[in-house]
Amino acid sequence: MSSNHIINTIFGEFQKNLDQEQEIREVIRNICKDVDQISRETTTVLQVIHHDETAIPAACLKARELFEKANVGYNKLKEVVPSGDYYKYQDHWRYMTQRYCYLISLTIWLEKGLLATHETVAAILGISAEEQKEGFHLDIEEYLVGLLHLCTELARLAVNSVTHGDYNKPQQISKFVMELNAGFRLLNLKNDHLRKRFDALKYDVKKIEEVVYDLSIRGLLPKTENA
């Protein structure tokens, strides 16, 4: 029957599409699994900063090596994801990418005390920082969520560095996080997840301020401070 034939064509066609999409998802999933595993390894490697200051440079080096592996993974992703379908598959790499933004910005802060820019982070991952130019890019929202993770980790580091007798770091952290805080305050956020994450930033700020206070009142702050 003709009608039956039409139906078979339609559904056959659709099954083909479906299969293709499944295949792409499978490939994406596999790449992401590997890249995600690398991110976890990096997380573990960088945990050392909380109990052994001397191990920081080595940890940064190791992290850099792992970022290069991740870069390879992101390049694979870039090839696999059809241009125009970035947002279709975004959920596969969203959390992982946030984690990389956090890890890279943490590493760069540990190395140089500076903020890793959006472009820098994107470059380390080997992807574009601009949304419009190529399909696959580093979404600025993931980058910002990563920075908020960074602040939380630095608040923890401020506490632990005092425990290990390093009275310099808290002030350095304080200055850095205050600047980030001021930056975030300028934003008129609508986005649910980012806004919620930002609302938690005030707890990190408070924590850091209290650490600096504790040092200050005990005269443990290094001289350069302009009190």
């Binding site: 109990h51 005990r218 443990l220």
Partner: protein, 254 residues
């Protein structure tokens, strides 16, 4: 029509026979499940009490005493309800009833590990726990299988108890113990951070573990920042009595 079919249905038709067997099997499962739930609740309650007992000690000697008592009570659990679970599951698939027994297993692991850590600062591995749950019977060996996931979930809960212990030990003036517990919590947290491919349950516990790390690190920080006011040596001199006490006490344990 139905009426007729119904009335004419022979009591011993093969179909009804088959369903009677099925009914029997399903009832067996339910009954077993119920017995396991009860055993698991017993394990949970007693494990919680053992943990409280381990926290209750304030002095070193009372700690020694409570560890001793805890070990005895753990043994009673192992020989009692935990063995009961093993016997119930001897001929039945364990995973079929995993939901019934998992709360008990997790809490037992928490208690068992906490006791071990209190005794000698060491954790014990899954195979070691597993070995403690082997029972030699006359003709055979019965094993109570604790799934590794339950072990890991119980271990995650342990970070909460270690955190409590750390903060409590500050106020009892035992700073070394505090640092040890802190580091153990940190190491466990790092361990969980590195794990991937786990289910939701463990992911949920990770955030509790993270909070425990924050709490214990803040406590250690407070301990240090007070000590930081005077040079460490001076500090030691300032409170020599109980610092010395500490060391002599500790020797009994290390």
């Amino acid at each position: 029509v139905a009426k007729e079919t119904a009335t004419s249905l022979p009591e011993d038709s093969p179909v009804l026979q088959m369903f009677k067997i099925a009914a029997h099997k399903l009832n067996d499962r339910q009954d077993r499940h119920e017995r396991l739930v009860k055993l698991s609740r017993d394990v949970t309650i007693e494990s919680k009490r053992i943990i409280f007992l381990l926290h209750s000690a304030i002095t070193k000697t009372s700690a020694e005493k409570s560890i001793h008592e805890a070990k005895e009570r753990l043994q009673k659990l192992i020989q009692g309800p935990l063995k009961g679970i093993g016997l119930e599951l001897e001929n039945s698939p364990a995973h079929l009833h995993s939901r019934a027994v998992t709360p008990g297993f997790q809490e037992f692991i928490e208690a068992r590990m906490f006791c071990s850590f209190m005794e000698n600062k060491l954790l014990i591995t899954w195979p070691e726990v597993q070995k403690e749950l082997e029972y030699k019977e006359e003709d055979r060996t019965v094993i109570t299988m604790v799934p590794q996931l339950d072990y890991m979930l119980g271990l995650a809960d342990l970070t909460g108890e270690l955190m409590r212990k750390a903060i409590n030990s500050i106020s009892s003036g035992d700073s070394e113990e505090c640092f040890d517990s802190c580091q153990a919590v940190r190491d466990l947290y790092t361990g969980y951070l590195g794990i991937f491919g786990t289910g939701k349950e463990l992911a949920r516990k990770l955030s509790t573990t993270r909070n425990n790390v924050f709490k214990v690190e803040s406590a250690v920080y407070a301990l240090r920042v007070r000590g930081g006011e005077a040079p460490p040596t001076l500090l030691l001199a300032a409170k020599p009595d109980w610092e010395r006490n500490d060391h002599s006490d500790d020797e009994g344990f290390f």
